[in-house]
Symmetry: C2
Subunit: 277 residues, 2 copies
């Protein structure tokens, strides 16, 4: 296939649910000509409380579903999926696959001045130690302090973003990270950028927050440029959404994340995901 | 089959995850001779944020899985499943099927003195209106004030039971229920009995809390007695547990709910649930 026709193919992106829209938003902002297909596995969200085996199975199914729709590049927007399943997915797909851990880890390693980096994420992401390994792969002398924050996702989904209960919760979770004297904090979950204000307030202005959504969009642009499969213009550009549960709740919460209208959205059966593998 | 051999068969009980253990605990307490098989769908928990169609599909799969293990009675421990799927399950099973809504609703209707009852539960349970309908089926003149409390489940799973953040959250959720002047409050989710102390503190001592787990265990005993299939003694009594995700997290959180050791626990594949239907 000529590079020009590959260039016209969509970028595939999946998340356990809604949070990946923070990544999609950055892709749309940085690469407005690109077509995108987003899959939110809303019938099985959240992944962050599940075992790595189960997350891996779900992630592979999502990847195959998108592959069958002719994508040129796959983005794993979910931190939990990236932390547990990136290698397994790369092993079976013959297109570039981008996880969220590496861009965030590299940005953190490049940012810290005192070599003390904090990472917050779901239980599964923190348990995997993926960020710590990725950061120390860049610079072995960086100390990484990890902390899971299980209530952050439900707080965001409840819409309590700038809220005293959310702030109290953040104070409790972040105390030990703060006490460790970090100067850089990785927001290791796609929901967390929506809590930026609260987290900044708790951590203080001097701590740099790394939003992996932004970092990832930059890497996507770089890869597409390197491979010469960057889409040239907005002729035929489309943005398609799939969810595994009904669209109602997705559309309600999605407004908080994407801030642009979702027009083409389809509910698919989990069974069709399972057949994809 | 003779009633005596039916009597020896186990009671099947399923929940979206761990919460149904509050019901199981009451069954074990009230009916210690009965064998039980518990299925926790931990790979797809929570149900409370999903559409009713998806909850119905998952609930039917869980029911068929337990049926194939030769149960004599099925208990739907999950309020969300009971609210959305009880009739569909009764339509396909030829054994008694007990949901959690009716016992709780009857107890609430019998308890209220001022005919004002509050119901709290997950988004899906409250959206279904199942408790309101069931309470007004008993007494049409009872006013029912419903409120979903999405953060209660993650707060319980985090183990923040007697906690100031949980209390603040409860105050916010329960204010309108309290202002409505109810004298009876149905805890319409299996997780909520673990927040009894906090809810009592917020609502005041005069409000009666209806714990549907206790009510349901009483109904089970009554049904088994009526059908003469109550197990006579503890000869051959067993307690078996199935989960759909790995057992680690289940065993950790289960301690908060069951307060007895779990010995016989098996992880099953979701695929085997789907084949059951």
């Amino acid at each position: 296939m000529k590079n020009s026709s590959i260039a016209d193919k969509p970028i595939g992106i999946f998340d356990s649910g809604i949070g990946g829209l923070t990544v999609l938003k950055e892709i749309h902002r940085l690469l407005p000509a690109e077509s995108t297909i987003y899959l939110g596995d809303t019938a099985r969200v959240p992944y962050g409380i599940r075992s790595s085996e189960t997350v891996r199975k779900y992630s592979l199914q999502n990847s195959m579903f998108l592959m069958e729709r002719g994508i040129k590049l796959l983005i794993i927007a979910c931190n939990t999926s990236s932390a547990t399943s990136l290698e397994s997915i790369r092993n079976v797909l013959d297109i570039p696959v981008l996880g969220v851990i590496e861009p965030g880890a590299k940005a953190a390693a490049a940012t810290t001045r005192n070599n003390r980096v904090g990472v917050i994420g779901t239980e599964a992401t923190i348990k995997s130690g993926a960020y710590r390994k990725a950061i120390q792969n860049v610079n072995r002398s960086i100390e990484v302090i990890e902390k899971s924050c299980p209530l952050f996702v439900p707080l965001v989904e409840e819409g309590w973003l700038n809220d005293d209960i959310t702030e109290l919760t953040a104070r409790r979770y972040l105390q030990e990270v703060k006490d460790a004297g970090i100067d850089t904090l990785v927001l290791g979950c796609t929901h967390y950028p929506l809590l930026k204000d609260v987290i900044k307030k708790v951590m203080g202005e001097q701590t740099v927050l790394i939003d992996s959504a932004i970092e990832k969009a930059k890497v996507v642009k770089q890869i597409l440029t390197d491979l010469r499969i960057l889409k040239k213009d907005t002729n035929g550009t489309f943005r398609k959404y799939y969810v595994t549960d009904s669209t109602d709740r997705f559309l309600t919460v999605a407004r908080r994340f994407l801030l642009e209208p979702i027009e083409d959205i389809t509910t698919i059966e989990i069974a069709s995901l399972e057949m994809a593998t």
